[in-house]
Symmetry: D2
Subunit: 264 residues, 4 copies
């Protein structure tokens, strides 16, 4: 089984990059399952709208994952009930609307796609380690992909090593800068600390650099605004699983950027 | 001018990786200046000792940089006064022992090597943005390398974009996982969010995974211990500067790991 | 039912204050139940030992509560199994040794004593709000006292207002400085943001001021040391409950300090 | 010299409490200088407006201090240049509009009123300890009042003990719940960890409890809204200084609340 994952889509340029490159990537890589993190996909870079959710699916995603920005666009409350291809972190508190995981049928197998959020330097959600442990029997499949949305490299890697051999893949999101450590861990779990973002290249994590620099320098409340001009980048990974065991055989980063133009 | 930078050396395996590969890297890459971050180089992964400092210089470093672990080994207080090749973050408070930058003569040019520490999710040091601004006239050279030791991708990138064109290179350290975004910014500053660490590969940021996982799962005070067995990795970057302007012409990541064995 | 609560006992002076004043306070106030927070009661101000635990009980406590420093003295692992009068935060993760609440029989009633820990600016424990909700039916009594160990005034007060009418009393601990807001909320829950500490008066939260000031000024790792000389203070509250409903009828702060000497 | 200080004014009820009680308090206590923290005085509890600033002065304040919410109401940018009775934290970065301290003439003496902001669990401003040290010679008077706006009890008390004998008074603000530790320190500095807020009593720090509880329980972005009904409270302190030395002779808390109605 081949999985294509694309990291945090930011703003209009991010959505445009999906529209432009996801079909090509799918044609070239032929993944059975395509997963896109959409937590920053509105034009202001916060949350997701129904029309963008539908657009990302139409452009080729099977599942859309989220993160700490899940609820930033309140429109989600209206459509999450029916958004059966969208998963928000499974360790959000008990009564949170929406689902923390979903399943995708691929030939004879079933891939569970799980979203979890870390807690270090983030809001205090339920324990993602304990949540994963509780979910495993419930998922009832050897094919499990986790988008682990977290700030620190240590929490992401510790999580992956804790569940090495029990999950097919753990791919980190949230920090928006791809890491170069894609690897299959000893137990057979594909891991990458951070997939990286999909959005405006000439920016700070998708935001106009001026507004971000200003806030660092004057420590006053400046609203970050999404960068809306210039080239885009698309970041992610492609993962191959053994169709019998669900263990990973390979994980390779994907990076389309001004420095690395797309090559079929 | 070519600069070789090697990220956070962790524990005995990190020091052994330096000993084994730094001479080879220098032979192959022929940098004029070699800089190594040594903030985790003691056997327990915290701080630096005089003997290890000397060993790293002997193995080929011209300058050793530090970070938030600078003072974790109290022995440093005894030798920092005479350690003229060691720099600790320049934005530590006023009376802090040691120096925040040093200069290395390279043919006709002088390279200033600066160490700074970020503040997001870290201890509240003096403002690194303001400190850089104040330092620039003092450094009085067009060749400036900054090891920016910080937790978040946003603070690192915002800093680099703020000083794009005024610094030769900004290389991030501290999160220990190399990013794949090495690039020369529009103004001519080489930038990479994170150089990555140099230490035990089968670990969480250099520490035994068991102890780190345990703490994430039980939230009780477990002392992390350095991983002392298994393969090592070495992470860093090589940067080329225009000898006239001090602007960067190229930055390339260096990564020696089980997945990427060293090739001359 | 009258409850006497005494806030975080710090170091030898704190233990001595308990020894000197707890018997007098009990003689004068005649509480049916006496509860003491002992998370800082070792000579170094971190955790608790078996001998101090026994001493605090002998001096008059019926229950000893804890907090974020629960595990700082590893000796606790050895005796917590048999320490049936000690409660550590109930929202520590699943497999944590010890108990999160206990019951004290008072004539015809049973008082449940619960310890919970907040999450804002603290380690990410299980959700204390959700934990309280889950505990309520399990406790199966109208008489419930909660030591809510938390950093921020907002989390403490929000918790008390959330469970106003369902708990007899919520008394905050951890910040070590008593607040002047003791009050019975509209629903009948006695509340006080912070009981305050019991320990050395000439100190910063029980620690020698020199070491604390030094760390604020130089941001280097200085070990805080407990203040071992000078006068002590004892902080707490006395709470009266309606013996039929379990609702509070009164809460009054207790403060013995150099500025407020004890008066019977 | 007698100083009256009133803690964080929150929303319309806070402003109304000032209007109703400040004149009475001044008539009864006869302070020479009256200082009011106005960082939450707009109807939404964030920042200050010009009309409210003028109203607070008209109701009897000589100086208005601020805190971390200084810039939440952007209108301040328009009038801070001419607001010579308003001080915002002096340790905001270099180019911040406005002033960090001001002087009030009282008979033969001059009282400097300084505003500083802490850094623990707050945005990383310039070092308040270092800033105070630098300011002391500049202030050039033995009569110095500091509103230290900070989150933790430790930073507030450490600051007061560091400058004990060099400042007339240090009064903490920001956590909105008054502490019961008002005292003159050994060197002659009046100190109180937290003055407390002036605003709606039936609230969480001035905000409607429902919105705050909701956010603690569901961890989703709920905008806090100011409580606009019910009784108010007014918190502060009155401090007496020796007219020769500037040292404090007394500090007493002021608390007007449903539990403690005002008595002349
Ligand atoms: Fe994101
Ligand atoms: Fe995120
Ligand atoms: Fe490091
Ligand atoms: Fe570090
Ligand atoms: Fe404590
Ligand atoms: Fe505590
Ligand atoms: Fe406030
Ligand atoms: Fe504040």
């Amino acid at each position: 089984m081949r999985i294509l994952f694309v990291g945090d889509v930011v703003g209009n340029i991010g959505v445009a990059m999906i529209h432009e490159y996801l079909p090509q990537l799918k044609r070239d890589l032929k993944p059975q399952v395509t997963i896109v993190n959409g937590e920053n996909s509105t034009p202001v870079g916060r949350g997701i709208s129904q029309s963008i959710y539908k657009q990302i699916l139409k452009d080729g995603a099977d599942v859309v994952t989220m993160g700490n920005h899940t609820w930033d666009n309140a429109e989600l409350y209206d459509f999450i009930g029916g958004a059966n291809r969208l998963v928000r972190p499974a360790n959000f508190p008990g009564d949170t609307p929406g689902q923390g995981w979903t399943k995708v049928k691929v030939n004879q197998q079933v891939l569970a796609v799980v979203n979890l959020q870390g807690r270090v330097f983030m809001n205090p959600m339920d324990d993602p380690f304990a949540k994963m442990k509780a979910l495993l029997p419930e998922l009832d499949t050897d094919f499990v992909f986790v988008d682990f949305h977290a700030e620190t490299t240590s929490e992401k890697r510790a999580f992956a090593m804790r569940y090495d051999g029990q999950l097919s893949a753990v791919v980190g999101t949230h920090t928006h800068v791809q890491t170069s450590d894609a690897q299959v861990l000893q137990g057979g779990t594909a891991f990458m600390t951070e997939a990286g973002m999909t959005g405006p290249a000439d920016s700070v994590l998708g935001m106009k650099s001026d507004s971000v620099i200003e806030r660092f320098e004057n420590q006053r409340p400046t609203r970050y605004t999404v960068q809306e001009v210039g080239p885009g980048l698309l970041s992610g990974a492609v993962i191959d699983l053994n169709d019998k065991t669900g263990h990973a055989t390979s994980i390779k980063p994907i990076l389309i950027s001004p420095q690395h133009p797309y090559q079929s």
